[in-house]
């Protein structure tokens, strides 16, 4: 083939000449030099600056804006729509360690459905998305838009081209760090650069993500048991898991007096932030422990229940941020692979009277759940509702409903 014939090729003409590349990808306002303009660039320049001064360069995608927050990572291979909408990531810049993101797009969304598979809340909760390589095209029968377009429509920025492995190693070593995503050409770039980083740990994020009014989710089954879900930032998969098992779910705000609600069981949800910011809830859980009504906790809910029961919590050296965490039942050799996202853990070494350790992490032996010796109170640090992640532990919902019935 002659060199020149390519230019006449109809499928390739969008990006063929140097002039077209600059038109398609880089606006004149970006302030790049002429040598940069002819280079093939996937987007605007952007940088991720951590509070300790470490900086990663990359290219922007999603919404054209800069933002700051806590920088965290997740090691799952799939499930970016679920993670981005998980309220636990509220206030955080989410880094995905799997380097190819966006391949299967974003699921079709029915605007009339409050609860829909593929999404864990009604909006993207993370502040921003940090990836190695973004796929702008996608292939999946059930998807209706690209990840890039979704982020644009939700007003969330992203950065690609970051060595996410190096970033993860850094975050792992120094715990969670705050940082800024600075996008060239975004109107608030300088503002974000000069303001202190948004710190989700300093505010009651739970209040931000919890529902404001009680919501009843009916399973449509007559005589269904009713579970009060204390919403500290609950993933909708928890609601779906219960409904699928024929339970009605009354979702109540984090500070709602759930103890006085008429229900067969209580479920303390997952959620973002520091468990000690939600004292009000802990106090109510203490009251609930005085009764015999079945009570279960998930993730943050596990920490709230444990604090109420008299356990202590501490910060892990290496947080659990993946979908591959092995947890075994204490006293047995049964092990489950679980989905997790937490940096704090319950200290299970000295259980208060009447309580015992239930699950432990097979990698680092940290506590993964506690239970009461005689009453139907139990909680786990991992996510039995999965989404994203393995569904090995979904039997816990059956256990709760067994008690409830």
């Amino acid at each position: 083939m002659a060199e020149g014939s390519i230019l006449g090729d109809p499928t390739l003409n969008q990006n063929d000449s140097a002039a077209n590349i600059s038109a398609a990808n880089i606006s004149a306002a970006s302030g790049l030099t002429s040598t940069d303009i002819v280079s093939w660039q996937p987007g605007r320049s952007a940088a991720l600056e951590l509070e300790d001064g470490v900086r990663f360069e990359g290219f922007a995608f999603g919404a054209l804006k800069s933002i700051s927050g806590e920088v965290v990572f997740a090691t799952g291979l799939v499930g970016y729509p679920e993670s981005l909408t998980d309220p636990s990531y509220r206030g955080q810049l989410l880094t995905l360690t799997y380097p190819l993101v966006g391949n299967y797009g974003v699921p079709r969304r029915d605007p009339d459905l409050q609860i829909q598979e593929g999404f864990e809340s009604s909006r993207i909760q993370a502040q921003a998305l940090v990836v190695q390589r973004l796929s702008r095209d996608y292939s999946h029968w059930n998807s209706s838009q690209s990840l890039d377009d979704w982020l644009v429509s939700e007003g969330v920025p992203g950065i690609e081209g970051v060595d996410v492995r190096a970033l993860t190693q850094h975050l792992r070593q120094f715990g969670s760090l705050k940082g800024r995503l600075l996008v060239e050409g975004s109107s608030n770039r300088d503002e974000v650069q000069n303001a202190p980083c948004h710190d989700p740990g300093s505010v009651n994020v739970v209040a931000e993500v919890s529902c404001s009014e009680p919501i009843l989710h009916s399973s449509g089954v007559t005589g269904a048991p009713r579970v009060v879900l204390v919403d500290c930032g609950a993933k909708t998969s928890i609601v779906r898991s219960l409904i699928a098992r024929g339970a009605d779910v009354l979702q109540v705000p984090w500070n709602h007096d759930f103890v006085s609600e008429k229900a067969d069981a209580v479920l303390l949800s997952n959620g973002p932030g520091n468990p000690k910011m939600t004292e009000e809830t802990v106090e109510m859980v203490s009251r609930a422990l005085g009764e015999n009504r079945p009570l279960m906790g998930i993730c943050l809910g596990n920490q709230l229940l444990s604090l109420a029961a008299g356990f202590d919590t501490y910060k892990l050296d290496f947080g659990h941020r993946g979908q591959n965490q092995p947890c075994y039942e204490v006293g047995s050799r049964r092990c489950y692979v679980t989905s997790q996202n937490h940096g704090y853990a319950v200290d299970g070494s000295n259980p208060p009277a009447g309580w015992q350790e239930w699950y432990r992490n097979a990698n680092d032996a940290s506590n993964e759940g506690v239970r009461h010796s005689s009453k139907p109170f139990f909680s786990v640090q991992f996510h039995p509702e999965a989404n994203p992640g393995p569904r090995d532990a979904e039997g816990l919902f059956d256990l709760l409903l067994e008690f409830a019935r």
Partner: protein, 1090 residues
Amino acid sequence: MNKTSHENIEVLKPRKVLILGSGALKIGEAGEFDYSGSQAIKALKEEGIKTVLVNPNIATIQTSEDLADEVYFLPVNAHFVERVIEREKPDGLLLSFGGQTALNCGIELDDLGILEKHGVEVFGTPLDTIRTTEDRHLFAEVLHSIGMDTPRSRACEDLESALEAAEEISFPVMVRSAFSLGGKGSGIARNVEELKDMATNALATVPQILVEEYLEGWKEIEYEVVRDAMNNCITVCNMENIDALGIHTGESIVVAPSQTLSDRDYHRLRSISIRLIQHLGVVGECNVQFALHPQSDEYRIIEVNARLSRSSALASKATGYPLAFVAAKLALRHCLIDVPNSITQVTASCFEPALDYCVIKMPRWDLKKFRRVSTSLGSEMKSVGEVMAIGRGFEEALQKACRMLGVGAHGLVSARDHFAEENLQELLVVPTEERIFAIGEALRKGWSVEKIHQLTHITPWFLERVLEVVTCQQHIRQFGLNDLPSGLFRRAKELGFSDNQISRAVKRETQIAPGYAAALEVRDRRESLGIKPVVKQIDTLAAEYPAQTNFLYMTYNGSVDDVEPKDPAPYVVLGGGAYRIGSSVEFDWCAVNAVQALGRSGHRTVMINYNPETVSTDYDSCDRLYFEELSLERVLDIFEREQSQGVVISVGGQIPNQLAIPLGNRGVKVLGTKVEDIDRAENREKFSSLLDDLGIDQPEWRELTSVEDARSFAEGCGYPVLIRPSYVLSGAAMSVAHSDDEMDSYLKAAADVSREHPVVVSKFIAGAKEIEWDGVAQDGKVVCYAISEHVENAGVHSGDATMVFPSQRLYLETSRRIKKISKLIAEALNITGPYNIQFIARDNHIKVIECNLRASRSFPFVSKILKENFIEYAIRCMLGEKVDPPAKSAFEFDFVGVKAPQFSFSRLKGADPLLGVEMASTGEVACLGDHVEEAYLKAMLSVGFKLPKKGILLTTGKIEDKVDFLESARKLQSLDIPVYATKGTHDFLKENDIDTKALRMPLRDDEFTGDDIPMDAIEAIEKGLIDLVINIPRSLERKDLTSGYLVRRKTVDYGIGLLTNVQAANLFVDALWKIRDPEELLVKPWREYC
């Protein structure tokens, strides 16, 4: 959570365990079982359990002296394994580590009551589970009972029921045979005729076939599942086939992890896998294959392989999870939580690896070496090896993989077109090994992703990635090297372009010169722009915890190195790359032994290799492993990055060997023989004049640039001549011509002869014996050596020849002269390290036909017979240590080893199973015996021959061969087995007072047809009258369809032993005649042969 009754399972403490290997490498069963068997042995040894291994594949690591306690180089079949059980009295048996061969043998042993009789327990997955997964009907029943979907399917035991089933399911249908390896005997039938053909063929070798729903265009997804006896179950890896369903997974380009599955898809299939495997009760490792509808949630479970497989070897290397090792521990009923993860040393084995890179596997085919073979890919395996590429971009991994194949591709896209536009559609619709390249070219020609998706059923996301590479290449073409913008330069490297590929894509004033200069120019420019790759670790947990791992790759999609060079400076060993015909597990043995020898001498080692089927790519074989390309670019990257003190290029076969000179020229320290001396051996002109100077004879040869010159040279020296073109259009690279006509037809049809593409023509000496020298020298002095002889006369490629060592039938004078010549050459080239010389001898006239300054295919064979590790000697010589020659001499041996080739013709539909100057075998075995006949017969039984009982069919070719075979025919007559012969052979034998039953030739192609004979040879085979065929072709010329071809093909299709070489046939008959009772084939461990 569910309570199960698995609480009190005790760990097994057997005293001794028998492990079955998979025998010779063949299509469908390759090096992956050396990896899995070796790991299993290590896992048992660690617990103080004695291990006994049966495996005739002498070139494997698992048959090394320091692994299993006892090794038997014997056929893996019920007869021999029972004898081993009687001798060794093991408590347990591991069947999951030797592929389908071991599994089938285990089932047979159980069926015959042998296991029960000797109280041998099968560890790991119970036999009943294996039976369920192997019998598709039973399997489907079990799946339906737990509400899982399988393809609609019917088991059929005859043609009639197959036709009925197809009607019920409706065409097209998939035809499969139960109990097969690598999908043998399966295919897609679109109509009654095709079904008739397939069903008849398959039912000839297996009792049962399946007619199934054909899921065209569905995605193919696999999960590797691990379960322990307590019912803990995990999936170590999932994989997505880039090729849609319909192409065997061994023939597909595969990516790990899946790329186009959502969380919902991924975890739904994962949950189904786990529930299924818990229900089946697998203990250890297995593989579940799914079909997933591309436009809905529908799925089908295609199959479960309840054993370690090719996919599990791939999954293990792709994730860093030591699957085979863990599977062996689980077989002893350890719990997954209690098995430490030997890779990370910080996590349990009960976890699922998180990848932060992607891995692409591409199969390597060698179909061009075969005549008449069908090149389209389908549900049967044809590939002979595979490569695995790692990247942090899909395109990066894909382009690496294309280069790793070693088929001449510079990447996914090349500088020039290879296919005519009018052929593209067919190339896309009918999958062949070229399809991935055709996709690139179609995209470059402007075909849309949608159109290509329609034609190939490949998920558009994958096609978009190819388009990304194509587009980048178009961008590069706008620039010269020096004005290529650094952003685009970097982008190209992120997309996996090699320096060489970029050198060909940029605008240039003059045509690119052959050699490495242009690529090195790109390298220098690139480095001046600061564009360099980074080293990343495979740690199984995506950096979540700090893990100690030495498993590395390089990428341009990153900015920070995971590892730093370490003191003391290491030596780098280059492995053998993808297994292919001519370069296989024997070079893995050499590479692993080189690393071990360097380690024993106190050095740090770095291994570079990219073949997931190898032991050299095991995490515990070296100090650092780079799963990387064996290219000048990447080897330089690693050499520089590791601050290495030297590179070993001479133990991995031809692929690393050809890097010696460019590496040396770039200032890399190449260990062993000096680069200038390597050049004197490699360069045909220089080597030839060296031989002349030394007074060593060689066949007359000439390098020529026209057909006319070639003819006049041949007339001068006399036919036959051997022709080796430098550029091949189609078919085999080498050929023998007996006449002008043959010369013309070959050079005009198959090869391009011109000034740019000269042809080497040499005198071919017929009727000569071929002899090999394997040696190690230091500073030109021979340290150790072995002389082996070929059974077949020269003309059969040395890789296809049967080798005898120590040589049994050589004149003492011949041996003496070979030794003298080999010493002279070592001295003249100042050799340090391994080398191999091939000789031909006729009437004590000896000529050198080839010399390679590297380890040869037969190094493991001679090393294991002599129990002197030639690679260890070679490494110590290269390091400059003082090396004493071994004390033993081959003349003192009172046993003999015979190495025999394994052919895979039955897999290669249509291929003519003939031997010639091009190698055709895919593997080899070697067995030991008190005499050559015993060792030979064991070896032949190991490659699938059976002792004939029903009948032997003779066609003994041209008159010289007929005469040659006469004595053997007489011996056969006394064996009490019916002997059949085709017309010409029958008549000849009759004249010599030997009675045979005459058979007609299937075609009336000449006067030897025998029109008046009622039955033809094909019918006799189909009727089951024949269980050995000796068919010596009248010539090796490329001819159209002949009777001989039809008979040979039928023989192979019916799984009957076939001998086509008269010397081998004579030896086989000698062995049958000498060894009347199979019990005379002694069952002795290797240790007792000394």
